[in-house]
Amino acid sequence: MLKFYVGKFLQYFLVIVLMLTLNFLLPRLMPGNPLVFLAGEDVGFMTSEEKNEILDKHGLNDSIPQQYISYIKNIVTGDFGYSYQQKRSIADLLKERMPWTLLLAGLGLVISTIIGVMFGALSAWRRGSSTDANLLTMFMFLSAMPSFWIGMILVSIFSAQLGLFPVFGAESGWSNLTGMDRFFDILRHLVLPLTTLVLISVTNTFMIMRYSMLNVLGEDYIMMAKAKGVRDRVIKYKHAMRNALLPVATVFMLSLGFMLGGATVIETVFAYPGVGRLMFESVVSRDYPLIQATFLIITFSVVIANLLADILYPFIDPKVGGQREK
């Protein structure tokens, strides 16, 4: 057992080192540099010395190995550094943006999983019926639509035409709402982006659940239960669905890792102040420290989600743990 965990640990360590290195190299391999965002709009009227001074100040004239060393040093000490573009501490920025992404993407993940599981199970239970065909068509249709398009349609109907929900932002922060008023304000802002997110991500869970459920329904013990005269409802929920949930749980845990970066497009369409949008802005402006920090957070959470899945799986599915102990 110990050996298993040590092995896993080494494996993860290697992944993290690789990831850190790629994370450092990728932004620097992109053409262009952050000068225009460091210097502001009048970059064209600066002398070479002035430009050099700015690059020096931000350590961009150092050799690549030197930059790499200071990058690793900063990560080990937990110092994310300073955003070139926003001229603010990155830790502060992340602290501001993270809750919004967690709220949006977290709720989106939970809701789409629940809907996907319910409909996936229903679809499999009625395999071959028109319900199954309809559900399948509908979900395939949803997954084929681009998220920004769904977002724009929702905005133009529910915001621009009906005026039910706000078009942009996560809350009306400037109106100093508190308590329940603030809660409802945030909720109103959340509805459209959340709906969009659920619509585009629900198909994944639906398909996995449907397939997994079909497999389970073909098992002998379901046949046995039917033969015993167990009630339909019990077979469906107790025998079939619970067992069919295993692959969904795996996907759910892995999705937890992608949560932070997964809503980038939706955050942009709805001007939602999340981490995904921050990442997008940082890439556009070649804001190296911010690119590194956002990608780092996202890759880390993927690794951690994997680790979590590795650790939790034996508890969810005793078969896996049992095999290992042999």
Binding site: P31, E96, V167, F168, A271, V284
Partner: protein
Amino acid sequence: MKKVLISLLSAFLIFALSNASVQAASSVDSLKVGITKDENALNPYTYVTGYPGLDLVNLLYDNLFQLDENNQPIPWLVKDYNMSEDGLTYSFVLHEDVKWHDGEPLTANDVKFTMDYFVKYPKSRFTNPLSQISSITVSSDTEFSLTLSKADPNFMIQPLADLPILPEHIWSSITAPDDETNNLGSGPYKFVEHKSGQYYKFEANLDYFKGEPQTKEIIFPIIEDTTAMFNALQAGELDAISASISPELVEQFESNNAIKVARGPGYSTTLFQVNAEKYPMSETPFRKAIDLAIDKQYLVDTVLLGYAEVGSPGFIHPSSPAHNTELKVSFNVDEAKRTLADAGFVDTNGDGFVEGQNGETIDLTTLVYSGSPIRIRTAELVSEALNEIGIKNQVKAMDATTVDSLMWPDFDVSKGRDYDMGLWSWSNTMQLFPDRMVELFHSDPTIGSVNIGGYKSEKFDELSQQLMDTFEEEERMQIIKDMQAFVSEDVPFTTLYYQEIVNAYNPEVFDQYVFQVGKGIINKMSFVAGDWSGSSPNVDVQEEVVEDSEEASIVSEADEGGNMLFLYILAGLVVAFIVYILFIRKRKTSGTKDEFEV
């Protein structure tokens, strides 16, 4: 299923209700103006964009002079001023009752401090124009004088109408201005808060020396996606937007009775840049042929739907006082072909495209920003026009930073360039200062700091020298006009168009916006009461209100009707779907029961 429906409905109702209450509470004194970018801390060292970033800074700070509607300087913090005849000495008297937002008085010492500070801690835009000042003398709290080392015709515009005055009692202890977040100024608005990526909030400075500003507070929500911004304006969530409306949407906005559209000349210049260092673009006839092949009027009509001014062959905008009116826009495909043939660019191998004078293959690439549909469309049309006269080329769209790194590596023209041709554009400052033509075309990279085509011409360098040695205003104008005439003949690049600025706002909330030529409605004049119409009659700003005319209302009614119909259909579909699902469910459950329980 029933429960789900009921809870959905009740949630729906709650939202509708809370929506109503929020709208009722909001006051007309609060204005929401959408901006497209986070501008960081809004002080003169840290703002990001020239517009609207610097204009937001200027709501917090004041300048000695202020540019009016037509970009002519008018006294602002300065009450009275005097210029010596040789243009070397200026004396100023400041208004007495000007106070910083913390109540401290603004004095001539603050002005001197600011000028010294910008020299000590450079910020190119503000520091470079200060270089002519040889001494600053403060004689009292409100009086000071400046001595210049050489006369500068733009001195009143830059630095005097551009340099924000900083409070000495705060900035004297600041040593890293680029990282500073303080933004206490003397302007009509006080900074309240900034939520990164979300919004800025300003409140009125009730003690402002020009009188109370026109709104109690202004909120600037940050919305990067312009479509979302347009939607927010139409939904009434924003009262005005800083982004210019894209041409295809102008009509839609104009037909919306709740929205007023203000449009006028834009000074941002779109051009077809060529790399004049590289063969065959190094040949004047080749460049001339490119210019002749492009139908600028067609670009304006099709890509910009008429919301632009056709590019003047001499670069300078027709509404600028420095514009050379004798130059005519040229477009002639036959002449373009003839120019090519006469210079020895002929199709020798019969592939339909011309070869170089010594038979070299010509296959060029036109770079364009992938983020801008208008630019891509323009580039495609230009590319087609060039193929038409036999210049083989194709369009390559890449992200802005990548294109910049190829056309203008490190933003330093002395570092060379790696492209053939590209669609480029210069911001409005190039048109505000016509003498910047020197920077555009001078062969010496230290003078021609934005000569990204690497264009070299002794004749132009001579003209530039003349301009730099001349201080007499009329002579300078003449030289600038000569420069335009020369440029229109030698074609270092082809000026395509100046896109109009189209701003939109909700006139019911606030209707006192002032359209500043070349910029738009977000500026100090919009929010401080007064008459800023200025003097220059050269400019034609159109404020278009859609009257309640029959035509307009018919259009909007039809529009509305269409939308309602669409909604009914949509609602019908949803209901049909729910009924269908319920029906299927009922039928199937009874069916399965039969199978198992019998």
